[in-house]
Symmetry: D2
């Protein structure tokens, strides 16, 4: 895992393609959840967390437990969105994220998403292991 | 539009296919929003509301303004889900839905989703027109 | 598995929802592959083949090896498509399908898709086991 | 539009996320068509072709007429694919693309895709306008 001080937030640029839009010419509402998941994945990758390895080596994975989303303005084809990802709370086996989709400084969509660390076989909550916990504690300072 | 008394709720069966699952073998979290949108569409169709016609004739369409989702248990490939759709409140230009994804009587996912009626060109809120309002009032009784 | 004589072809009705359309108001070209996969899945289910069980019990699954698709006319929101699925050839470890997307008797999209039976762990071709082979031979008569 | 000499081919890096994988842990076969469409879009953008503007100003858009795809090896979660996009032929109102999905120099998936330039209202073939034709001729040299 990375040795530099991990950041509490990150920004990921996402281009809107035809696949993301629906019949009225705007981004389909479910697709923001894809964008937010890409944002969380890249934030974890920046922290040095490789989800494939986490699953194989530690039998741990993240599942979403709840998502609260507000849709303020529509995004359109070719828009270059900035997905802001920030953790707001770290629990025993869960992380609360606040995530935004911005376009040129304007807020289009915002969400609070809780992910839970679970065992890959049982899907039951599993506390973060030592290395991951240390990382997440560093991030919160 | 239909002359029979419209129901306040409806149930839509949805089969889980490979396209719906993700790399850990369960339904990807964004896809429940697709299932719920299918549920709302079929509920509207049952009411006699044809969204294509609504857009073309009345320049009205529904956009989602907020979604609050709890993920309780994962759905798997080949599962036959029952999507329950019920309106909980009708506003001036909005409808609040309560929607559930059930499997053999067990609750997998539940959501509160607010849709707003907007003008197809401006995306600004537009009050329900007479016919639609009458229908929605009947439903609430 | 079913004891009735299996059919060589099947038809599956699929409704077009917002999720299936793209920014120009027609079904996004990749989504026909979803529809065709649903068609093949239901055809296999009709034959008595449960893909979840096949994977767990026999470590066999189907992967697509090639797809040749012609897009003739666009499908639109609310269209009720009829997906025709027909096998054209059964090999040692592969099945060739001819699949069509029809709307009110008009051909919108047609495809030739080859699926291969592989081992779930190695992804290497694996000959159909006895029961499945017998079924597929019956179908071809 | 750009004044530099346009290239005949381009490479786009695409990360594989959970949304792209299916229940057996590999990229779902329909999703390569999304990746290839992103590749064509970025190639067009590099040429200086803005599809949103093309649609609004010139009532022209590209639709896919045929796709011939070979799936050779599966891509997995977290893979960083290189999508190669190359034109193989320019017709009166069509472009033939040869597109590849590569991983660390290994070919995973290859396709021949024909797109057709159509009128945005009628969906009928429409010859490239002067500016676009000049660009495409330059590219072919």
């Amino acid at each position: 895992m990375s040795t530099e001080t991990p950041r509490q937030s990150s920004i990921l640029d996402i281009r809107v393609y035809y696949e993301d839009t629906d019949g009225v010419g705007v981004v389909y509402y479910a697709n923001y959840l894809k964008f937010f998941e890409r944002g969380r994945t890249e934030w974890l990758r920046h922290l040095g967390v490789d989800q494939s390895r986490l699953a194989q080596r530690d039998q741990r994975m993240f599942v979403v437990r709840s998502a609260d989303i507000k849709y303020l303005k529509p995004a359109k084809l070719d828009d270059l969105l900035a997905i802001h990802t920030k953790i707001s709370r770290v629990g025993h086996a869960s992380i609360d994220f606040e995530q935004l989709a911005m376009l040129s400084g304007e807020l289009l969509c915002r969400s609070n998403i809780q992910v839970c660390c679970v065992n890959t076989k049982t899907f039951r909550p599993a506390a973060f292991n030592g290395e991951l916990r240390t990382l997440l504690e560093k991030v919160q300072k």
